[in-house]
């Protein structure tokens, strides 16, 4: 049952990602990227990590995808000119693939994990964020605040 679901979701995600990389119309590519992200979230659901999956949908589809779509819309017209084959892209893709393969090969087999992962409660998440990972959380908060202030400064009306 889980194996079939895994294959279906993988095909779905890969098709979405491939379409996002190859479609000529940028807007269509962005929408296909959303499909790929939905597939990624489904993997988390399959693994029982409900919270992470929902957060992924929330942040990536709700915010990042809309941001991508907006940037495409605001920055360029739908130009029909054809870009040449991008060799640097191939190198980057190969490097990322090699890195990930190394990481996967070094990891221990997944079967040693307990079959049932206890569902995370809000309390556990809160304790992890406020005790164990308080410094990373604060750093990310600082970074985001700086980005927010930067955005405000960029669009602020100049006083006459």
């Amino acid at each position: 049952m889980n194996g079939t679901a895994f294959i279906v979701i993988s095909v779905f995600t890969l098709a979405g990602a491939l379409a996002a990389a190859t479609l000529p119309n940028l807007m269509h590519a962005a929408f296909c990227l959303v499909l790929a992200l939905l597939g990624l979230a489904s993997f988390f659901f399959l693994l029982g990590a409900e919270f992470v999956g929902l957060a992924l949908i929330f942040i990536y589809i709700g915010a990042v995808a809309v941001l991508i779509v907006f940037t495409i819309l605001l920055t360029r017209r739908d130009s029909k000119e054809h870009y040449g084959f991008n060799w640097s892209g191939v190198f980057i893709a190969l490097a990322v693939f090699a890195g990930l393969t190394c990481a996967v090969l070094k990891t221990h087999s997944i079967s040693i994990l307990p079959p049932h992962i206890r569902a995370l409660t809000v309390k556990q998440i809160g304790q992890a964020l406020m005790i164990g990972y308080v410094w990373p959380l604060q750093c990310v908060g600082l970074l985001l605040t700086a980005a927010l202030i930067g955005a405000l400064v960029l669009v602020m009306e100049e006083k006459r």
Binding site: H28, F31, I57, I61, F70
Partner: protein, 395 residues
Amino acid sequence: MSSALDQIFVHGKRCLLSWIAGAPNWLIQIASSLINIVALLAAFLTLFALMSVLERKILGRMQNRYGPNRVGPFGLFQPVADGIKMLIKEDIVPARADKVVHFLAPVVLAAVAILTLGIIPYGRNMTAFAIDGGILFFFAVGSATELAVFMAGWASNNKFSMLGAMRAIAQMFSYELPLIITVLPVVMIVGSLMPDRIVFAQGEYTLGIVPRWFVFTPWGAAAFLLFFVSGLVESNRTPFDVPEGESEIVAGHMTEYSGFKYATFFLAEYLGMFAVSGLAVTLFLGGWHAPVRVLEFVPSYIWFFAKLSALLFVYVWLRATLPRTRVDQMMNVAWKFMLPMAFTCIVAAAIWHYAGRGMHGWLWSLFVIVFVYSALSILLDTRRKFARRVYRFAE
């Protein structure tokens, strides 16, 4: 007797499932989900039909006219007539439109609205899908609304559609923040993201008469008001229907839609409205709990839908009384007032919790909210004389 009536739908579902008792587990699971989905759709499509005619009746009453009264008794069959009209209308797709995305946009919008309805507890043991992260699910799925509206606006290849979509995304993004942040105090106090737990936490009564709904605490009342207004904006209803703005940009992102696709947009809008009001009832108004202990014999789902109808009436009431806001004023309110107030609600809830959840905490959290409210009013200078309007881009 009363509990039998209360659980009548739950027992009904169990009866239906007992017919296939010997079947494998996955088949029973699928059948159970299907029953939930069918019940949910039947209930809310009926409510949509009823709402569409009642809204026009109430609007008519408030504007001193009759409203629809020709089809059937009291005009109650009006939705049937509307539905047939929408179905037999020609479905026009613009020649330069992106056909696939143009078709997908209303479908995605309606699907998202229906999904968000699933996590709300409609009565005791009556949640269509009870998952641990229910509240998170609501907002995660609901955030796809923006993308669907954008798809509609972009695929139509029309400047009014595009403008409407831009406005819709700007307003939904701005108001999603207060909408989510006002939920946080409730999640914090209950300690769970599960809607059923949140309803359960509001089930007690102080002195047997005052229910412990969160709306009766200062932070809860403030959060409820903020949540309600943000929900109003999220569902693009009249005081905030800037994305549609008939007098400015034809119909916004729906300009190039006709026939049943147009009706689907309305369906999605109403379902979204039901979902947000349902969540407001769940979070702040005690869900399916009765307002006083003596009235607990009335089935829980009746209480839920009574509260839901009250909120929906306020939606119609506001539509009948308020004119449309201006875009920039709306954005200003979102970022300068709603957001700080939403954060204040979190602080006030924390104070209420640490002061022992009693009278003491009640007064302290009231003080914090009133203090921040007055400070904001002075800072934002609400009594300022309006300056002469300067047109920067339209001269």
